[in-house]
């Protein structure tokens, strides 16, 4: 046991993922008896994860493999903390057969080199309380398909006596929902160093948001409150990440939960959606090939094949890899229809973009503040807001 190679590993959200690793580990040990995985203290959140890695980089005690939010990979790559996986991929015989969907692989690709392999993927979906929806005459077949529909549904629900018909998760980290509206029009939020909010699509996104908020008279809830309201049956509709399905199912009252595709700006539905979730990065500072090989073995194991399938089994996320979804988990999705919605949306999967440069996170915050201004009614003229945000963010990105 002494010459076991120890791979140090850090991941976020122990409450969500502990069980995943607990399921994976025995299988991994069976396959790699000479490797020992040492779990580091979990990250409290994606932000915490990135900050921890940055600190550890300065202090010189990085783990070998770390799980980072999809939009946090860029910063670690930029700062040269994450290692390129290309040498390892090259050494594998038939890497693609392991099921890596091109789109998914793209999420961790920077400048033509793969740095991160996705581990758990989420997409925005709609959650519906069917009992509430029924009050306004909705059933599983005619759920809103566009944001216009959503606003109408709100009006109807309100007429039906529902005070608080909808919640839209604008406040999810990393401007996820803004990017969702942008991708819905097939427009990236950043291209290179350019912030794209000043485009027409940008204005549409902002105005859509404003319509949703004002049309539904949406309360500015914190996510915990929103989740509580939805669980308590107050809300009819909630737009949120699919990853919360597990939490909602656990917490909800006596009503029928249905998840449905994320509405689009037009009736065709969204043209793309940003992927949420986390991916595995190799951050080992070791030069020992054996050590690196061990780290790679673990990294590969959890992001592909049987290991990856456990993500879906144990969380609300999708596994990163097509094979797992299509083959291994077919039965599972039949049993868990709420989790299937995201899988149906898989073809729409797009990058959750990070803003480049040192000020990337500051830019995220500026946009967050701007969006909040829409919810709280601080901003009324979207064109003005568009201009203001574009300017400020662009200033940060240059």
């Amino acid at each position: 046991a002494e010459d076991k190679i120890v791979v140090e590993f850090g991941y976020p959200y122990s409450h969500l993922f502990d069980v995943t690793y607990e399921a994976i580990l025995p299988k991994f040990y069976a396959a790699h008896p000479n490797i020992e995985i040492k779990m580091r203290a979990t990250y409290e959140s994606y932000e915490d994860g990135t900050n921890t890695i940055l600190r550890e980089a300065v202090a010189g005690n990085l783990p070998d493999v770390t799980m980072q939010g999809l939009n946090r990979q860029a910063i670690l790559v930029e700062k040269g903390i994450a290692r390129s996986l290309e040498p390892f991929i090259a050494a594998e015989a038939d890497f693609a057969k392991d099921g890596y969907h091109k789109a998914m692989l793209d999420l961790g690709t920077f400048g033509d080199e793969v740095y991160g392999l996705p581990f758990s993927i989420s997409l925005p979906v709609g959650y519906y309380n069917m009992e509430v929806m029924a009050k306004a005459g909705y059933d599983a077949t005619n759920l809103p398909a566009t944001w216009e529909d959503v606003v109408q549904a709100c009006v109807k629900l309100r007429e039906a006596g529902v005070d608080n018909p909808m919640f839209w998760g604008w406040n999810i980290t990393g401007n996820w929902f803004l990017q969702a509206l942008m991708w819905s029009q097939d427009k990236p939020t950043v291209e290179g160093n350019d912030f794209q909010l000043d485009s027409d699509e940008g204005l549409v996104a902002l105005e859509t948001m404003q319509n949703i908020f004002t049309g539904c008279e949406m309360q500015n809830l914190e996510w915990k409150s929103a989740l509580a309201s939805f669980s308590a049956g107050d809300l009819g509709m909630m737009y949120w990440s699919t990853s919360a399905v597990g939490a909602v199912e656990r917490a909800m009252g006596d009503f029928t939960l249905v998840t449905n595709e994320y509405p689009g700006i037009t009736a065709e539905g969204p043209m793309g959606l940003p992927a949420g979730g986390n991916s595995a990065l190799l951050t080992s500072t070791s030069d020992d090939p054996e050590q690196l090989a061990a780290a790679w073995a673990w990294l590969k194991f959890i992001t592909s094949g049987e290991g990856a399938a456990d993500v879906a089994r144990t969380t609300g996320y999708m596994p990163p890899n097509q094979a797992a979804n299509e083959i291994i988990l077919a039965d599972f999705y039949a049993e868990n229809p709420a989790k299937a919605t995201a899988v149906r949306q898989l073809p729409l999967l797009r990058e959750w973009q990070a803003y480049p440069g040192d000020n990337g996170l500051a830019a995220t915050q500026v946009i967050y503040d701007g969006l909040e201004g829409i919810v709280t009614g601080e901003y009324e003229d979207m064109a003005e807001l568009q201009e203001e945000l574009s300017e400020e963010v662009q200033d940060l990105l240059d």
């Binding site: 900050n51 940055l54 300065v58 700062k79 903390i81 005070d163 040192d358 000020n359 709280t376």
Partner: protein, 305 residues
């Protein structure tokens, strides 16, 4: 007279103070003149640019507003309630222990857990606060326009309403902090010689207030200096609660964007250590000025011996 004993006494404290507090703060001051970001190889000297930003961006104006609102609500209330509770409890023979423990509970509880509890309590619809308020609908309370509005539509969102957030957070700050001041005041009360109360009684200080003015308050002078100073500093340094409630953004419309949170957001969350350090320096300058003023006002009057 005391030979060199004092060197031994202040020596270790000074050494640790330098290593643990002053050197890091000097590093921070140095960083405030650069654009250092954690993980970067080096940093560029940017002069006072970081400071310029603090004083020109509207976000930072909100920062000052939030900080001052919080401080000037929380300090008087925690000191006042702390003193009040201490006096009441001190005047009781029995049961004093019980109240003491209860009032100290908020200080002892882990804040992140309590933040979650408060979030539940302040939940806009099903939270205990608003659901209790709703029970009052239809009664005479509706005569109060604010209340009537709440009944008609909804009661405030409290934590997520930009008009209420800072006050709600201040309320929780008071809830959390006054027990600590109470303990300090209780400690102060025990060192008042009881004969002085006897003397006051004989001098005709019949009302509790008279005894308080004549004996308790002046003799609590050193305690009060301490309590006020500490309350000031602690409320200027309020952070945990804001982070627990608003991990991102500092509250609705940045209405709870207090300085410590700004430091944390810039320096740690966003990795802009330069700006973070600059806010730190501004923060220190600020608190220092206030502390000097406050000490100048209070300390002068409390040296008797």
């Amino acid at each position: 007279m005391q030979s060199r004993a004092h060197l031994w006494f202040i020596g270790p404290a000074m050494a640790l103070m330098f290593i643990v507090l002053l050197i890091p703060i000097l590093i921070a001051v140095g960083l405030s003149l650069t654009d250092y970001s954690l993980g970067n190889q080096g940093a560029e000297f940017v002069g006072l640019e970081n400071y310029e930003r603090i004083f020109t961006r509207s976000t930072y104006e909100k920062m000052f507003v939030a900080t001052f609102r919080y401080v000037f609500v929380v300090v008087p209330l925690t000191v006042g309630l702390g003193l009040g509770a201490a006096l009441l409890i001190h005047s009781l023979g029995r049961f004093g222990d019980l109240y003491k423990t209860i009032y100290f509970l908020p200080v002892m509880a882990a804040l992140i857990a309590m933040a979650i509890v408060w979030e539940f309590a302040f939940h806009p619809t099903i939270g205990i606060i608003n659901s209790t308020l709703e029970k009052g609908c239809g009664t005479f309370l509706e005569a109060w326009p604010w209340y009537a509005k709440g009944c008609e539509r909804t009661f405030p969102l409290w934590l997520n309403d930009r008009d209420y957030a800072i006050w709600t957070v201040s309320f929780i700050g008071v809830w959390q902090g006054f027990g600590f001041n109470m303990v300090l005041y209780l400690a102060g009360l025990t060192s008042i010689p009881p004969q002085l109360y006897d003397a006051a009684e004989m001098d005709g200080a019949t009302r509790g207030w008279d005894r308080f003015r004549l004996v308790t308050w002046p003799l609590l002078g050193p305690t009060t200096v301490f309590v006020v100073t500490i309350s000031f500093i602690r409320s200027f340094q309020v952070f945990d609660m804001v982070e627990a409630f608003y991990p991102q953004g500092g509250g609705p419309s940045k209405s709870v964007f207090v300085m410590m949170f700004a430091i944390y957001e810039k320096g740690i969350q966003q990795n802009l250590m330069g700006i973070g350090a600059a806010i730190t320096v501004v923060f220190l300058a600020f608190v220092m000025v206030l502390t000097v003023i406050q000490r100048w006002l209070v300390e002068r009057r409390t040296h008797y011996v």
